[in-house]
């Protein structure tokens, strides 16, 4: 088990380096000159050269890449073009807010999806089941940039029971977390239901029922434990998507996290900060899917690679 966890963690490193390389290439090789984009085409050539030098764009690509990787290894992501502060610190300052939002959304998604999915699978074909399926269809089709404003209209403007935007106590977290978490709740509800329905049809469930265990015990102890593995895999993948979704949710709710910083960096054409934000979110994505793999192996021995000793 520990071996698997180590192996998986070790395998995640090249993925992060590859992702970093892609981000580097994005800024350095994509057609069009970032200096042009930043200063506009009418800028004085002295200013352009100065910026080119500041970004080390006047050096060969390989040298720039080496410098970028060396910086990455020591946690140096360059400095902001706007505030001249270290990018790593800017991102680190915003990270807690984003994590708070992402875990809040995860909690919302799980709180809806697990009970709803289990209830739907336990009583297939009933109105509850149909309602769960309808919810997962609607939830998946509802973009967060629409749901967020709708929730603001309903709960902050009409009912006046929750704040419109900003970060503060749990009341501030509720609307953004629901906005970000609902799409995930829809996917997880559907996954839990489908996975559990499949497990309920298995022989071991029939055996457990035949030896006299109650419906609830069989469902909770036998079927659910097996049904959760694919749910955890999806959870890992979706958590990364959740992190990417913070860019939109944080914009809607003026939430001071990495997503908002990304949009600010785009608007200010602050490329080092943009690069740092994207790297942070991509790293979060890789970490989440790695963790999901490890948890999955703990839950389901069948997904572990065969051990060398018998």
């Amino acid at each position: 088990m520990t071996r698997l966890a180590l192996r998986r963690t070790f395998l995640a490193l090249p993925t992060i380096v590859a992702a970093a390389t892609l981000v580097f290439l994005l800024v350095h090789v994509v057609p069009g000159d970032p200096v042009d984009v930043m200063l506009g085409e009418s800028a004085a050539s002295v200013d352009r050269e100065a910026l080119r030098h500041a970004l080390a764009l006047d050096r060969p690509l390989a040298a720039q890449y080496a410098r970028f990787l060396a910086g990455l290894a020591t946690g140096d992501l360059g400095r902001s073009l706007v505030s001249d502060r270290p990018v790593a610190r800017l991102v680190a300052e915003r990270l807690p807010a984003t994590l708070e939002l992402a875990f809040g959304a995860l909690a919302v998604a799980l709180a809806i999806a697990l009970p709803l999915g289990v209830a739907a699978a336990a009583r297939p074909g009933t109105w509850l089941d149909r309602g769960a399926v309808g919810f997962s269809l609607l939830g998946a089709a509802m973009p967060s940039f629409w749901l967020g404003p709708l929730l603001i209209i309903a709960f902050a403007i009409e009912l006046r029971i929750l704040p419109v935007s900003g970060r503060g106590g749990p009341a501030h977290l509720l609307l953004p977390a629901c906005t970000l978490g609902l799409g995930m709740a829809a996917i997880l509800t559907r996954m839990t239901r489908a996975s559990l329905l499949e497990c309920i049809g298995e022989d071991y469930v029939r055996t457990a029922r035949a030896k006299g265990l109650s419906r609830v015990t069989v469902l909770a102890r036998h079927a659910l434990a097996n049904a959760l593995a694919p749910v955890v895999t999806i959870l890992g993948l979706q958590f990364g998507a959740l992190l990417a979704g913070t860019v939109i949710t944080e914009t809607i709710f003026a939430w001071p996290g990495v997503g908002r910083l990304t949009v600010e960096a785009i608007q200010a054409r602050d490329y080092p900060v943009l690069q740092g934000c994207i790297l942070a979110i991509a790293a979060g994505f890789v970490i989440a899917s790695t963790l999901a793999d490890i948890v999955n192996a703990a839950l389901d021995p069948r997904t572990r690679p065969p051990s060398r000793r018998p």
Binding site: L137, P143, L243, A244, V247, I266, F285
Partner: protein, 273 residues
Amino acid sequence: MRGTGQIRTAAALLAALACLAIAAPWLAPEDPGRQDLGATLAPPSHAHPLGQDTLGRDLLARVLHGGRVSLVVGLATVTSSLLLGTAIGALAGWSGGWPDELVMRLVDVLLAFPGLLLAIALTAVLGASLRNVLLALCLIGWTGYARLARGEVLRLRGREFVEAARALGASDRRILWRHLLPSLTAPLLVQATFGMAGAIVAEASLSFLGLGAQPPTASWGTMLNDGRAFLLVAPHLTIVPGVAIMVTVLALNFLGEGLRDRLDVRPPTDLWR
């Protein structure tokens, strides 16, 4: 037959949406760019059934024209990524060896990013425009089709009918085109249907962030962004384009599910969430 009714309903709804988008210039009560600064943020009225926006432009005209943007971007993204991805994936799976290894590692790296994040980064660097949104969505979108096509080709290339075709003297190209490609259509069709829903949401997301359609072009994403500052006084600015996006995505997801049940295909990977 399972899924037939669902396919019919969804297809009819999509056909209706497509007709509305195509006929937008004739159906719209007025030009989507025509401003009426005396009636900014006006609620729905007889002359403007869905109300007017921040510059007094007719919301019905804008939502109809916005549908053109969404459907064109969705269709163009899916068509080009489907063609590109299938070609790359099928060739990689067929040839095996280092080309296959190279393509799959590239796909892995691209899939190590959440699709939306990569699209945001690409359009931010390339510059905000619908053309760049399309480019970014294609650069990411082909991976899903490539993975699918490669898997299917790998699965089928050892089958007897391929061996039989080869024994009869068929060239590699003929086997790929005439024997393998037809077996790929069902899973690719299902993936493309879900992919179109994803592309439409992705375009709207990027336009919402100001990275897609630029004013004065009417797009559902930009309309939602415009409405964000006026939730208190003019909620119709937000409600109208949102309903349009949701109905379209719902119809596409519904069609995708119907096709999947009908054609018995495994669920595809969702790239954009």
